[in-house]
């Protein structure tokens, strides 16, 4: 890749990733949310990996890191749903908003999201979906680039 791209892409990728974070956090008010923000973050990472290569990329997601974040995202989503089931009888009940007024006030305060709209568990669900999506899409690209490297190495060996 050209030098211009190598100078430009890393700072741009950080800005793109931050935009993804902001998209995740605005999911309950503005267009966007966990999936879209996660895809934007993965886009920043893919930008880096394609320009610098898998080996030299300044942003590295290891197998353990991907596995941990994927697990944390999925489990937190399930636990938020189970919390609704336990305290209200409905799976994924929005405990922070409590539209039916069936949960104690301290539970409502516990799951409240501190911003002007008090959207309850929706921003937390966006957050964990964002975690899952960005590591999931990044893992796909890492796998493709890894396979590409292996195929190229095999081709070179056959030529020799």
């Amino acid at each position: 890749m050209s030098t211009i791209l190598k100078i430009f892409v890393f700072p741009a990728a950080l800005i793109v990733m931050t935009l993804g974070i902001d998209t995740i956090l605005g999911g309950h008010i503005t267009p966007g949310g966990g999936f879209q923000g996660g895809a934007i973050i993965a886009g920043g990472f893919i930008f880096c990996v394609i320009v610098y290569g898998l080996k030299d990329s300044p942003i590295k997601f290891s197998h353990d890191f991907i596995a941990r974040l994927e697990s944390v995202g999925a489990l937190t989503y399930v636990f938020l749903g189970l919390a609704g089931l336990i305290f209200s009888g409905y799976y994924l009940y929005n405990l922070g908003v409590d539209l039916y007024q069936i949960v104690p006030p301290f539970i409502k305060n516990l799951f409240d999201y501190p911003d002007p709209l008090h959207a309850g568990i929706i921003p937390y669900l966006n957050f964990v979906v964002g975690l899952k999506v960005f590591v999931g899409l990044s893992a796909v690209v890492i796998a493709f680039l890894g396979f590409k490297g292996e195929i190229e190495e095999e081709g070179e060996e056959e030529e020799i």
């Binding site: 995740i24 503005t30 030299d56």
Partner: protein
Amino acid sequence: MVYFYLGPVTLGFLLGFILGSRVKIFPESKLNFTLGSFIVIVLAAIIVAYLEGPFPYYLGLPLAPGFISGILGIIIGKLTLGRLLKDENIGSN
């Protein structure tokens, strides 16, 4: 009056910190991003946050709170967990 919303600031910082902890520039890669580069990135992020503006119904600063906390999280994550260990090389993640 300055309004401080804990939700976007905390979650944005957390996500940024997670991402920043994975930013590791290996000497073998010959990339030369110094402290000055990161200062420029933060300044650019502040400009983008100003142009983007806060979410609807958010009062106070004319900046996107999640954006600012996200970039701060990335920088602090890079400075704390994103450093190279002594015996760490490209192959070990």
